[in-house]
Point group: C2
Chain length 392, copies 2
C-alpha cells in the first residue's frame, strides 16, 4: 500500500511546476488523472526528444504514474464531463496563467459549488492575489525577483541563475505540502480549501539568513562564489581531474584537516587559530595554500583521505557521474521504465523514502489521450463521436 | 483554525534542514516542542548575531512558533522524560549525524516500541541506508555530489554553488511532505513509519531534464550561464542601473518583443524566424543586439514596457529590494515579530497560502529552555533540582 492510495486527483497542470506536484502525489499512490488540451501539454515538445517516436523525454519522466486524458475545456460538453468527475474527486491541481481557470470555468469558486470539500491547488508565478498576480512568469524571472540570482555566482561575475529550474520544482513541492495539509485538515473537519503557491514566494522563502542579515544588520548580502563567509575553510577546489568541495566547520576538524594534508605547522599560525580568524584570513592566504595542495591530487584520492579522517567533502559530479554513483544507485534515485513508444527509459526515482508505504515508479507517462475510454467510461463509438465533436 | 492543529511534534532537530521542516509544521498549527542540548542548538551561534542580546537572528527566524526545552539526552532521567512525551506524540523529527540517535536511544526502533503509531522523520546528508550513510555532509557537499554545482554558473567560470543552502531547506520541505503523507496514511491505517530524506537525493531530484538528456541523448549537460539552450531570447541582461531577466518563449512573444524594442526588422531576418533558429543564432548575434538595447535603459523602464506588452521579465533584486517589493509585501512574505531579547524583528513569512487554514507567525523563537516548566510540568523547585542534576 502507498500513503495516498484512494486519493483522487484531477490534474489540470501543464509545463513543470504543477506537474512536479502531481508527480509526488502519483509516486505515492494518489490516482492522478492528467487532463491535456487536444493538442497536448506544451511540455510534450520539450527536449530531449526521442528521435524514433518523437516523444519528449521531459514529459515522460515528469508524468510517470499518471493517467492521461484529453479534454477541450472550452467545449461545454467537455466541461460537463469534467464537472462530473469533480463530484467525487479529492484534489484539483492547476497552474494556468492568471484568469484562465476562470475563463474556462474550472476555477475554485466554480468547482466548490459542485464539491464543497474539494481541495484546489494553484501554482503560479506571482500568486492568486497581489500586485503582480496577472503577470506572466518564467523560472528565471522568479529566481531573479525572488533574490536568488543576486546571491549566486562570484563577486566579479554577473548575477547567476541556478542551472535547473528550482523556482518551478520547489513550487511543486510546496504545492504538495499545501495539498497534504489541506487533506489532513479535511479528514478532521470535512472542509475543502484553495492552496496558493507563487514561484517568486518560493524562491524568497529559500534565502535563509540573507533576510535577517539585511533587516538586523542593515547589510545586503552579496555574491560570495563558493565560500561561506562564516566558515573557513569551506570552498570548492580544483583537483588534477576536476573539482571537489571541502568543508571544515570547527577547530577540531581544522586540526584533523591540517594533519591530513601534512601541514601541522598551520596549527601554530596565529592567523588560523579560530574559525573567525580563518574566515578573516581565508582569501588572503589559506585559500591559496589549500588550492595548491588540492591541485596536486586527484578527486578520489582526496575524497578517500578526508573520508577516513571524517572531514566533510565530496567531488563535483557531472550528470553521468552522479547517475552512476553508488550512493544514488543504492538509494534507487534512478529507476528503469519501459515506455510504450520510447522503449527503455532510465530516469529519476523518489526522493522521499517511507519505510511502510514506499513511493515507486510503476507506470509510464501516458500517451496523449491514452486513458480517455477508461476514465470517461466510453465505448469506442462514443469516443470517436466525442473526438469528432472536438470535445476530447 | 490552522491545518495541523492538534498534531504534536517532538523536534530533536538542530542546524538547518530538520528545523526548516518543523518550521513549516509549526507555522501551520502543529504543536512543535524543540529539544535542545543544555548548551543549545549550534544554530544559536549562527549570524547575524544581535549585538545587544547576543541572540542569533538565524535561530530566531527559523524557530518561530516553536516551544523550546532543554534535555540532556545522554542522561537516563532525561531520556525517561522524553519517552514519556513520546507516548502521546504524533511525530518525531531529527537530523542527527548517523548513529547518534541510536547512541542516544531515541532512534525509530526504540521509540516505536513506546508508541507504534509514531511517525519518525530523519533528515541527513546521505540517508539512513546506502554506502555513504555514515558520512558527514554540508550543503555544499550535497550540492556538489547531487549534480547542481556542475550545472550552475557560466561555461568559462568554475562550477558554482547556489548561494543559499538549498540542499538544507528543500530537504526540510521534502521531510515535511513525508511527514504529512505518513500522517494522512496513519489517519486511515493507524500505522506509523519512518521518513528518510537525504540532502544529496534532494539535490538530485531537482535536476529536471538534465537526467533524461544524459540517459536518452548521451549528452552530459554543462553550465549555460543564464541562458536556456532551448528558448531564445531567454537571459539576464545588464541595464543602466542593474540586471533584468527577460524570457521570450514563442514566436508570438518574439513578434511583440521586436515591436516593443522598435526592431520589427528582425522579424524578416531569416536567422530569427523560429525559436529553434533563434537558439542557434543567439550567442552569435541576437544576444549582443538585445544587450546593447537593454544597456541604454533603466530596469524599471524596461519592466514597465515589457509588462504592458505581456513579455515575461523581472529585475534581479538584491535582498533589500526584494524585501521592500510590493509583491512580497502584499503576499505577507515579510512579517514583524517582537522577540523578548532582540526586540522588533522583521523576517520571512509563510510561502504556502491556504485560504481556510492560513499559516502565520504567532510567537517568537524560544529562549534556551524557556518552556521547560510548562512542557515537563515542573515546579520551580523540581526544575532547579533537575538542572542541578544535569538533566536539562
Amino acid at each position: 500500500m502507498k500513503a495516498l492510495e484512494g486519493v483522487k486527483v484531477l490534474d489540470l497542470t501543464h509545463a513543470y511546476n504543477g506537474p512536479f506536484c502531481t508527480t509526488l502525489l502519483a509516486d505515492n499512490g494518489a490516482d492522478v488523472i492528467k487532463f491535456e488540451p487536444i493538442q497536448g501539454d506544451q511540455c510534450r515538445s520539450w527536449g530531449p526528444i526521442d528521435e524514433k517516436s518523437g516523444e519528449s523525454g521531459f514529459y515522460a519522466f515528469l508524468n510517470r504514474n499518471k493517467k492521461g486524458v484529453t479534454l477541450n475545456l472550452k467545449n461545454e460538453k467537455a466541461r460537463e464531463i469534467f464537472y462530473d468527475l469533480v463530484k467525487d474527486a479529492d484534489v484539483v491541481v492547476e497552474n494556468f496563467r492568471a484568469g484562465v481557470s476562470k475563463k474556462l470555468k474550472v476555477d475554485y469558486e466554480t468547482l466548490k459549488e459542485i464539491n464543497p470539500s474539494i481541495i484546489y491547488a494553484s501554482g503560479s508565478g506571482f500568486g492568486q492575489y497581489g500586485p503582480l498576480s496577472n503577470r506572466p512568469c518564467y523560472d528565471i524571472v522568479a529566481q531573479s525577483m525572488g533574490g536568488m540570482v543576486n546571491m549566486t555566482g562570484f563577486p566579479d561575475s554577473p548575477p547567476t541563475k541556478v542551472g535547473p529550474s528550482i523556482a518551478d520544482n520547489v513550487t511543486g513541492i510546496y504545492l504538495c505540502v499545501g495539498v497534504l495539509m489541506a487533506l489532513f485538515n479535511r479528514e478532521r473537519t470535512g472542509r475543502g480549501q484553495q492552496v496558493d503557491v507563487a514561484m517568486a514566494d518560493t524562491i524568497f522563502s529559500l534565502l535563509e539568513n540573507a533576510i535577517v542579515t539585511t533587516t538586523m544588520d542593515g547589510v545586503i548580502p552579496q555574491r560570495q562564489g563558493n565560500i561561506d563567509p562564516s566558515i573557513a575553510p569551506f570552498d570548492i577546489y580544483e583537483a588534477k581531474d576536476g573539482y571537489i568541495a571541502i568543508g571544515v566547520g570547527n577547530d577540531r576538524l581544522f586540526k584533523t584537516f591540517c594533519e591530513t594534508i601534512g601541514r601541522e605547522d598551520l596549527l601554530d599560525d596565529p592567523r588560523y587559530q579560530t574559525n573567525d580568524l580563518r574566515c578573516k584570513n581565508y582569501t588572503n592566504g589559506l585559500q591559496q595554500l589549500i588550492s595548491e595542495w588540492v591541485a596536486t591530487k586527484g578527486k578520489k584520492e582526496i575524497e578517500d583521505l578526508f573520508d577516513k579522517a571524517g572531514i566533510p567533502c565530496g567531488p563535483v559530479l557531472d550528470m553521468q557521474e552522479a547517475i552512476d554513483h553508488p550512493h544514488f544507485q543504492a538509494r534507487e534515485m534512478m529507476v528503469h521504465m519501459d515506455h510504450p513508444t520510447i522503449g527503455e527509459m532510465y530516469f529519476q526515482g523518489c526522493p522521499i523514502k517511507l519505510t511502510e508505504t514506499p513511493g515507486s515508479v510503476d507506470t509510464p507517462a501516458p500517451l496523449l489521450g491514452q486513458h480517455n475510454k477508461e476514465v470517461f467510461g466510453l465505448t469506442d463509438e462514443e469516443l470517436e463521436s466525442l473526438k469528432a465533436e472536438g470535445v476530447m
